[in-house]
Symmetry: C2
Subunit: 387 residues, 2 copies
Amino acid sequence: MYGQKVLADLREQLAHAAEFDLYAAAFDSAGIDPASIDSWEAFQEVPFVETEDLEADFEANPPEGSLYTAGAMISFSPMGDDLAPMFDTADDLDYQASVNADVFERAGISPGDRVLNTFGYHLFGTGLLVQRGLEELGAEVFPVGPGDSEQAAAFIQEYDVDALIGNPSFATKVGDEGASVEVFVGGGEPFTSIPGYREEVKDALGCDTAVDYFGTRHVLPIAAETTDENGLYVSSEYAIVEIVDPDTGDPLEPGERGEVVVTHRRKDGFPLVRYRTGDLAELERRGDDLVLPDGVIGRTDNRLKVKGVKLYPESIPAVLAGFEGLTGEYSLTVTRPESTDHLEIRCEGSAEEGELAEALADRLIISPDEVVVVEDLDRSGVFDERY
Amino acid sequence: MYGQKVLADLREQLAHAAEFDLYAAAFDSAGIDPASIDSWEAFQEVPFVETEDLEADFEANPPEGSLYTAGAMISFSPMGDDLAPMFDTADDLDYQASVNADVFERAGISPGDRVLNTFGYHLFGTGLLVQRGLEELGAEVFPVGPGDSEQAAAFIQEYDVDALIGNPSFATKVGDEGASVEVFVGGGEPFTSIPGYREEVKDALGCDTAVDYFGTRHVLPIAAETTDENGLYVSSEYAIVEIVDPDTGDPLEPGERGEVVVTHRRKDGFPLVRYRTGDLAELERRGDDLVLPDGVIGRTDNRLKVKGVKLYPESIPAVLAGFEGLTGEYSLTVTRPESTDHLEIRCEGSAEEGELAEALADRLIISPDEVVVVEDLDRSGVFDERY
């Protein structure tokens, strides 16, 4: 899926990873020698690292964990109920800035553009990382942070700001305060995976371009849209992405839907190797590019198999959010009346049932046997009543 | 007061300043040619820029003002009731980082040290500027920002953090939560100008070194202490400092007390030339260094002349804060009973009057005729009843 240049970088990155106890032990017990990884298939033999592995490692080696790398910044990200530390060296920050600069440029931000950055800088450091990318691009950054949509809107209007970057829900509020920009870059929340949401944000901000930007605190960015607004292109200079079957871990072919697995292509501090994000997406090949056409469409937790097909209830709220009349409450019930699975989805509010059924079938891959819209829902949640 | 190297830099900086309408007009009407400034005395003929000049300039050239320089960051600082924009180019940020790196190193922070940064990053950008200096030094920064002293204390304890940087009042809270560090760098509030405050902060944080760091959003730093804790050394690589008579603007000799006037030695965006800060300090020469021995001891606003000596009531609260039993409320009354000024200071709470009188005389330069400590104050404020 990736060429020799990527493989050479991955060999180097895995050799670096093997300097850390966590990976050294994992590679050892899987019989992996980073130097001998000469094919994509060989790379896919490398063991995954899961959130549970990281949690156990923090527990066993408090507080930094065994992936600690002395460097320039220690910031944090939520992990379970806790905050887990995250390490960046000066080189990490520089390289990440250059990658983000390219991503922001493809998203429609130009050198000299004024950009209001509403990501938070404190604790997680996200705003900081974004600012560095924007500076590297040569943009002029307003480091306003989150929280005050009225003030953000006033700055945009007064200073004729070209672009806004931040959470889409906050951006909508900023737009509702009367601000308009040419470009919006949205991240940190489900965005273009929610049908109609892009248009809603564009209407609020009066903008020509609104793109989806996907990353985690540990790998930022993973993928982002360009001004074409046609899906999130994997930032292969930074993040090597695979899609795997969340049950078996088997690699899936382009076009299939599964769990996003990500590997840093080049990272000194806290390197992640085949990290299972728990995020659900489809991966598509377009020429030399890899694309997540709808971005992240849910989480792989709570998946269930219906009629032999994996079904991800967590991808439903994004569909419901596309229907104005629905409250977002729903129940999904699987029964097996005559040794065949029966899938019923009941949604609260009002919507045209046929249209809703189509949207759900499109997102879930399988067609529900019944889609019902009711005014008041008796119960909400996922109910597997087959067994 | 400064040598030829500084003068050469100032000629260059003033030539840059003259590219902006605000300075071009001011230099013109004062008959100043930047290229011909060949002595310190000639430099002191350059017109001041005052906050009112900047406010008028923002008003006349909204929203950026005539000092706008396209660059890397637009952040803000309070000016009157408004927020005024402030411009930094990429070079400005880099140079400032290198200056701050030196300052932090002299303050006792070493490469590899862990530093918790509790200055805010959003809007004003102060935390960002500080982080860059720390990174340039090679320290490991926790970008936590302000607000949560309990969390800050927990990070310090868990991660064995070496140094804390932020407001002294917040640092005391962090210390009260049980955290201890080796070095504290305090700024953004009156600090070592308050008698006993340094010891209080050091006790709370259990630290060996606590230094005072002085700057404005526009010139950060202006001066800072070293591990010797014996006054704030002017950062002459960045800020050229003079002390002037706040009434006449006449330069004062080292050892005299007056208004801090500051000039950027090297700044592309929003350069300040002989900017009157309104801050009150004494400037002292020590060998090649210029030192503010007590930091900023008040503001020059509301000054009044008593017995021919300038008296700054705003320097009183810092003195009162050094006495635990006082509430901080006070009245200062000047009368002229027999054609001689009579100065009475009444303070609320409890304190030994002789000790308080001595501390006030030391700070005010003139000895009050009466210092009275009362349980309840009838009125508080400054009352000039001579006329």
